[in-house]
């Protein structure tokens, strides 16, 4: 155990140096962060002198990966949202009704009258006048089914049709529900991501969790409320014909119409046609801008199909009102002055500049397919995070020094070896954390401090063993050799068991707990490495140089 081939020695030193080099950028956190931001900006084309200057703050030949700071250290907002995937079933069922009606109409003579019945949101119930025609009606409705478009649902059709007495019950099939849920989730994730990206904060985390949840973490944002305002609003924009203006919120709307309030005039209601002329789906762009009077406004542009429909409608209805409806509130209801061709327009209202900026963001990103409910939200202010970092730094330094002094007092020269190894060890932890892009949380700092305390354990095991072997007077070389040999199984067993718990913590834990598991796990790996290679190598080098007749551990 005292022989070390030279290639092994070289390898060990290289590993240590590489680890320490990777850790270096964290010592100059702000500077390297600015450098990284500037480099990214230059790559995107923003090659300004300021960016050049920022980029020059850190030499390009040095590694520049940093440990990510968790929300509890950097400050920011955390949201766990649940997508109400069942919302989509309702929309699907509503869209199925006209299809069913149109398909059954030619069969009036056999099925009798066709009437939609009140039904649960994820079902469509249609009553037919003549039960004798049920068989034919069912066949007709079933023929409307389309194959499910997903890998797992191949062969299944999208709707299930059954009969209860004289009522046809149409529901989405299970395969279709699964496929729909999946699409809803993908779409929601994409839209949330676009909305958060539009705000342009650093490194937001947007992750799917489980089947119906989205985890959103945005560092640097003021509060969870702000974040919700950005992603939570549905922002469904439609242009609907106005039937009437009224001051009565309970006015009778008539079939196919509904009464909705005005967004900024209290007590003003509009009766509008439900079927929109154009919807937000046809928007290709929306930008904050100003109207002729200098008021904040949002300008928008439709795609070709939307532009044509909008153009035709305005040409046919000059002089009448139409409503710009945002999330079931009328933003404004101008009179159509002329045929609006070209498909672009402007939304004015009593907006502030900030509101128009947000509205433009929401319109560009598109509507969420389903509602989000928030299960968990956390905000940490940046000052609290900074306080935690400061406290963590001081505590780590004090813990470090205390352990170093204690080890020196207990083991003398061997303690110094262990101490050097401990310093390398902490360096390696930071190096590895930067390399894998792990996130450092407050419990993670505690994990590092705990590692500082526990890392010496492997060395202590060896040193104590050497002491014991020295008692049986075998001579220093043999004692050191036996010390390492016999301590090895205890070191491995003890650390493997701790590592198992770290892995379980990582798999089962979330957020800060996971950060703790990562530092604990990496700490175990590096401390075993430093104890059985680095310290040993130092002991061996020292022993080769000095060849002491007696040693004191």
């Amino acid at each position: 155990m005292l022989q070390f081939e030279s290639w092994k020695r070289v390898l060990i030193w290289i590993a240590c140096l590489a680890g320490l080099l990777l850790a270096v950028p964290n010592g100059f956190y702000t500077r390297v962060e600015q450098h990284n931001d500037a480099v990214a900006a230059i790559e995107l084309g923003a090659d300004t002198p300021e960016n050049q200057e920022m980029a020059a703050q850190w030499p390009g030949y040095l590694p520049s990966s940093l440990v990510n700071l968790g929300l509890d250290l950097r400050g920011g907002a955390h949201l766990l949202a649940e997508v109400q995937v069942a919302d989509v079933y309702q929309a699907r069922m509503e869209a199925t009704w006209p299809e069913v009606r149109d398909a059954l109409r030619p069969l009036r003579s056999t099925v009798g009258t066709i009437r939609k019945q009140p039904s649960p949101v994820d079902e469509l119930r249609v009553r037919i006048g003549d039960v004798a025609g049920m068989q034919q009606a069912l066949e007709t409705v079933r023929s409307l089914a389309r194959p499910v478009q997903s890998l797992t649902g191949i062969g299944a059709s999208d709707i299930a049709v059954s009969a209860v007495d004289d009522v046809i019950v149409v529901t989405l099939s299970d395969a279709e529900k699964l496929a729909t849920d999946e699409r809803t989730m993908q779409q929601s994730l994409e839209i949330v991501r676009r909305r958060v990206d539009e705000v342009g904060t650093r490194e937001p985390t947007i992750q799917r969790q489980g089947t119906e949840r989205i985890l959103i973490q945005v560092p640097g944002i003021g509060s969870a409320a702000e974040l919700k305002a950005i992603i939570g609003t549905t922002a469904r924009l439609t242009f609907n014909p106005v039937v009437n203006r009224t001051n009565d919120g309970n006015a009778i709307a008539g079939a196919g119409n509904s009464v909705i309030p005005s967004i900024d005039e209290p007590g003003q209601f509009y009766v509008i046609e439900n079927a929109p002329v154009v919807a937000g789906d046809d928007l290709v762009d929306a930008q904050p801008s100003f109207d002729q009077n200098g008021g904040a406004a949002v300008s928008f542009r439709f795609n070709t199909a939307g532009a044509r429909r909008f153009g035709n409608y305005t040409a046919d209805n000059i002089g009448s009102l139409f409503a710009i409806v945002l999330d079931n509130e009328v933003v404004s209801a101008p009179v159509i002055q002329s045929h609006i061709a070209g498909g672009s327009g402007i939304i004015t209202g009593r907006f502030s500049v900030e509101e128009t900026t947000n509205l433009a963001v929401l319109l560009r990103a598109g509507a969420l397919p389903a509602k989000l409910t928030f299960l968990e939200e956390r905000t940490v202010g940046p000052e609290l995070g900074q306080d935690s970092i400061d406290a963590g730094k001081v505590a780590t330094m004090v813990a470090f020094v205390a352990v170093l002094v204690f080890m020196f007092l207990s083991y003398g020269l061997f303690g110094v070896f262990a101490n050097i190894a401990l310093i390398i060890n902490v360096g390696l932890i930071f190096g590895l954390l930067s390399l894998v892009g792990a996130t450092l949380t407050l419990p993670g700092i505690a994990g590092i401090v705990l590692t500082v305390g526990m890392a010496v354990d492997a060395n202590v095991l060896v040193f104590e063993r050497i002491r014991e072997e020295l008692k049986t007077s075998k001579g220093p070389a043999r004692a050191i050799e036996l010390g390492y040999e016999k301590a090895l199984s205890a070191i491995l067993d003890a650390n493997v068991t701790t590592f198992i718990t770290a892995v379980i913590l990582f798999v089962m834990g979330s957020g800060p707990v996971r950060g703790f598991a990562i530092t604990l796990g990496l700490g175990i790996i590096t401390s075993v490495f430093t104890a059985i290679f680095v310290t040993r190598l130092m002991v061996v080098i020292w022993f080769e140089r000095r060849r002491p007749k007696t040693i004191e551990v």
Partner: protein
């Protein structure tokens, strides 16, 4: 001159009064468990849902005034406590306010938090809210299940590992020690009513890891000494093993406690509960590896002949010494 916490060649008799030690452990566990049954744990919002708001004001915290301000908002159970920490600046007064999960809401709405903040601003218009956390009852229910599962899984995994590396008696001894540590930790959190949240589960699992680390080192020496002293009674072999490893046990516990104490005092109030759990765990874990794990091992007895490997018995992986 070396600092030595444990003299060379100690020969303490750890098993002379093993019934007493085991009795003390059992009694402590019963007190802990009783406390848990009687008053329960002071669950944080992670586990029972609700909202916590951390307030930061230059005015001294007047809990009665805070309570008056929040009265009438009909938020149900509200608890307010002042937080102290040596790291606070002069004139920094921090309090934690916790309100229960609101009926019919998954998480507390922005409006509720706005109303709360307004009410508190009436006391001190410059009051800041450095942290606002809200967890809905649905998630908190899942979190508690996952947490319990994590602890059980960790103990199970360890049971299997030690069984493979040693023998089933060792595994049972180690697991008994782990259960002992976990019960005592939960007991102390219940007795002192310290906030029990997700981070404490992480601390619990770390305690499991640490205690095990300690137990395994002792067991490793027991295994070695069983080969060495084939004729000595088990109690004596165990005693020798514990005495031989005593110096290391104390050294490691002291360095770990040194580091943790620094964190406890200087690390800020946010993680103080977490660090407290670990300090307690290190102390209890060190105790349990000697007085619980080894005593159980003595009680169960163990295969004595380790000279030739018996492929049918457990411990067939015991000779993989890397």
């Amino acid at each position: 001159m070396r600092l030595k916490l444990v003299k060379d060649n100690t020969n303490f008799d750890f098993f002379g009064r093993w019934k007493l030690w085991l009795g003390i452990s059992l009694l402590m566990m019963m007190i802990g468990f009783g406390s848990y049954l009687y008053q329960g744990l002071n669950f944080g919002i992670d586990f029972r849902g609700g909202t916590t708001i951390r307030t930061d004001s230059t005015e001294p915290v007047d809990i009665a005034a805070y309570r008056d301000a929040l009265e009438g908002l009909e938020l149900g159970d509200v608890s307010i406590s002042e937080v102290f920490d040596p790291n606070f600046r002069d004139g920094q007064n921090v309090a934690m306010i916790r309100i229960q999960a609101q009926d019919g809401q998954e998480a507390v709405t922005v409006d509720t938090i706005g109303i709360l903040e307004n009410a508190l601003h009436s006391i001190d218009p410059d009051m800041k809210f450095p942290s606002v956390e809200s967890v809905g009852p649905k998630v908190s229910g899942e979190l508690i299940k996952t947490a319990a599962l994590a602890v059980v899984l960790a103990i199970g995994a360890v049971l299997i590992y030690i069984w493979l590396r040693f023998e089933w008696q060792f595994a049972l001894g180690a697991v008994a020690a782990l259960v002992h540590d976990v019960v005592l930790t939960i007991g102390v959190f219940s007795e002192l009513q310290i906030k029990f949240d997700l981070a404490i589960i992480a601390a619990l699992l770390t305690i499991v890891g640490y205690s095990l680390n300690d137990t395994v080192v002792v067991f490793d020496r027991v295994r070695e000494n069983l080969r060495k002293y084939k004729k000595k009674p088990l109690a004596e072999v165990l005693n020798i093993s514990i005495n031989e490893t005593l110096s290391r046990t104390v050294m490691t516990s002291v360095t770990t406690l040194l580091a943790l104490t620094a964190l406890f005092v200087l690390g800020g109030d946010v993680i103080r509960g977490f660090v407290f759990a670990m300090i307690w765990g290190v102390i209890v874990g060190t105790y349990s590896s000697v007085f619980v794990a080894s005593t159980i091992l003595l009680y169960l007895g163990v295969k004595r002949d380790w000279s030739k490997t018996d492929p049918k018995a457990g411990g067939q992986y015991a000779n993989i010494d890397a």
